[in-house]
């Protein structure tokens, strides 16, 4: 088979009525068979390498969100088009036990994956960068991934695309209690960067006589934001300090936005550091649990 160049391997997410071609920088797909050596006392060597778990797969990629497009194909409505952000926002507040995966297509290989980790990085003068990991377990008699690696012809992207990517230029970083305010002299800090991360905990339910799970349970999520600024607030509270966190990530043309809002986050740690030739940095971490 001829080698395939990166621009011939599209990455596509299908979620409900939405189909999004991801503007990905990189993508990595891996699969594993869970095998253990069978050793016995009184013998050297192994009888076989035997399965002790199901085959699993995972796919991770980093991308810049494109914040325009048709959100609902049925009604032709447009809006926030970062599908993965929509999945994360909906899932973390989900009250249902059962959950299901998202169809991921990567160069002719496809499978249903559960969003296990989603992070977002914002730096001044930079496009927003997201990192994502999906776990693919398969279901019933369906293997985690199927298909073969093959190239696809991708139409050239519109030049206006650059206006639609999420960017720090117009994004409202924080609201309410942050950036930190030192009450004694009413200093307000300058926010320098935001690192946001959310992890989801699932439980695939396996049953006897079947390799792949019969269902998936969504249990909880842990959300964390690490904010770098130039002021340091002393006196962290024993019970944690309540914060508000609402991040509006806007497109470069300031027309579209996606929202990340943490539910009752609490300040868990605060760090002040400085290096020679640098200004002092303060880093605070706030966390929410779902």
């Amino acid at each position: 088979m001829a080698s395939i160049r990166y621009d011939k391997i599209p990455l596509i997410i299908e979620y409900g009525a939405r189909t999004e071609k991801i503007l990905a920088y990189d993508c990595s797909l891996s699969q594993a068979a869970d095998l253990q050596p069978v050793k016995a006392i009184g013998f050297h060597g192994v009888a076989e390498q035997t399965p002790q778990g199901a085959r699993t797969s995972s796919i991770s990629f980093s991308y810049t969100p494109v914040l325009t497009g048709i959100v609902n194909t049925k009604y032709g409505s447009t809006g926030s088009f970062n599908t993965i952000n929509e999945i994360a926002s909906g899932l973390k507040n989900s009250k249902k036990s059962q959950t299901s995966g998202v169809m991921i297509k990567f160069g002719g290989i496809s499978g249903e994956g559960l969003l296990s980790q989603y992070s977002l990085s914002m730096q001044p003068y930079s496009p927003v960068t997201c990192n994502v990991n999906f776990e693919l377990f398969g279901t019933g008699t369906y293997v985690p991934i199927s298909g073969e690696l093959q190239e696809s012809v991708i139409p050239k992207k519109d030049q206006d695309l650059a206006n639609s990517v999420g960017h720090s230029a117009y994004s409202a970083f924080m609201t309410a209690n942050s950036p930190a305010t030192i009450t004694s002299d009413s200093q307000t800090g300058v926010l320098q960067s935001v690192e946001y991360n959310i992890n989801f905990a699932y439980q695939p339910v396996y049953k006897l006589g079947q390799e792949f799970p019969s269902s998936f349970l969504y249990h909880s999520a842990v959300e964390e934001a690490s904010i770098t600024e130039n002021v340091f607030e002393t006196g962290i509270a024993f019970t944690g300090k309540a914060e508000n966190f609402k991040l509006n990530v806007k497109s470069l043309d300031n027309n579209n936005a996606m929202v990340i809002e943490m539910n009752r986050p609490v300040l868990s740690n605060n760090q002040l550091s400085v290096n020679a030739t640098q200004i002092a940095d303060s880093n605070k971490t706030i966390r929410s649990f779902y």
Partner: protein, 299 residues
């Protein structure tokens, strides 16, 4: 000298066991003797014989498990004369230390999805260990280990058990009371008699319910195991008994589990009552040499 596990072979009835672990325990039953007026003991006495046990875990391969055969044969009346017997006695060797009269006391398996099948057994014996610890040097032969992916479960229970679609995991447990009979003046048992045998099965299923009548529910479950890419069962475990308990539980960040516990005291499909073949008791002889009665058990 310290030995490695790979040079310490476990053999039972001449069969090499593909065991993952083995523990040999030998214990006396010694009690302290207290004299009148003394709070402390200065000497000890044996109150029972030496009791030894060997516990081990071994993989199940496609061939019928030889250890499992003791569950149905041991302590049963077998043979053409249907006389009581001690069943098939297990002789064994662990690293060159040998015993000649062992009996299977417990046998259990935990079945988890996609996991290899490993049985845990305990063999008790009451004779002295012979031989010296010695090393072996052998390469294990290639074998296919049974896996819970290739398991089918037959549910022949009454409707009271409820509708079951998913079997999440299962366990199989066998145990028997094994009692040595000592003659006066002997430190080794003259014979062994077997008490109650029981087989229980725990099954985690979906569909939690709370229905459980006071006299249980007739339950019949059979687990069939086959090799990879084969539909022919090469091993099976059954428990035809009574649903004894249900348990519904959960904890934070975990699923709700619904566990059924089934118990049977009849591990064999065809029941043979085990025990001692009755013999007439000796007739007491009077002082003058006359018989003073006849044995009660032959009246």
């Amino acid at each position: 000298m310290i030995f490695s596990a790979k040079n310490t072979k476990l053999t039972l009835n001449g069969l090499d066991i593909i065991a993952t672990q083995c523990a040999l325990d030998i214990a006396t039953t010694i009690d302290p003797r207290y004299d009148a007026g003394q709070r402390h003991s200065q000497s000890y006495f044996a109150s029972n014989g030496v009791g030894s046990s060997m516990s081990f875990s071994h993989y199940l391969t496609g061939d019928l498990d030889k250890i499992k055969e003791f569950i149905s044969d041991q302590g049963e009346k077998i043979g053409s004369d249907q006389r009581s017997n001690e069943g098939r006695i297990i002789s064994g060797s662990f690293g060159g230390l040998t015993f000649t009269s062992g009996y299977l006391q417990t046998y259990s398996i935990q079945f988890n999805p996609n996991s290899p099948v490993i049985a845990n057994s305990t063999v008790v014996f009451f004779d002295d260990l012979k031989g010296e610890f010695s090393q072996t040097d052998a390469r294990v032969s290639e074998q296919e280990i049974l896996n819970c992916k290739n398991i089918t479960i037959e549910n022949l229970s009454s409707t009271g058990v409820g509708s079951i679609n998913d079997f999440i995991n299962a366990s199989y447990n066998f145990s028997v009371d094994i009692n040595p009979v000592y003659k006066a003046g002997q430190t080794l048992p003259d014979r062994i008699y077997f008490g109650r045998k029981s087989v229980s099965m725990g099954i985690e299923v979906d569909n939690p319910t709370g229905y459980l009548p006071y006299n249980g529910v007739t339950s019949k479950f059979k687990l069939n195991l086959s090799k990879h890419n084969s539909s022919t069962a090469t091993e099976n475990f059954s428990c035809f008994g009574v649903l004894q308990s249900r348990s519904v539980r959960t904890s934070v960040d975990d699923k709700v589990s619904h566990m059924l516990q089934i118990l049977t005291n009849n591990p064999k499909v065809t029941s043979n009552v085990f025990g001692i073949e009755p013999r007439p008791r000796p007739v007491f002889v009077g002082a003058g040499g006359d018989d003073v009665g006849v044995p009660l058990n032959v009246l």
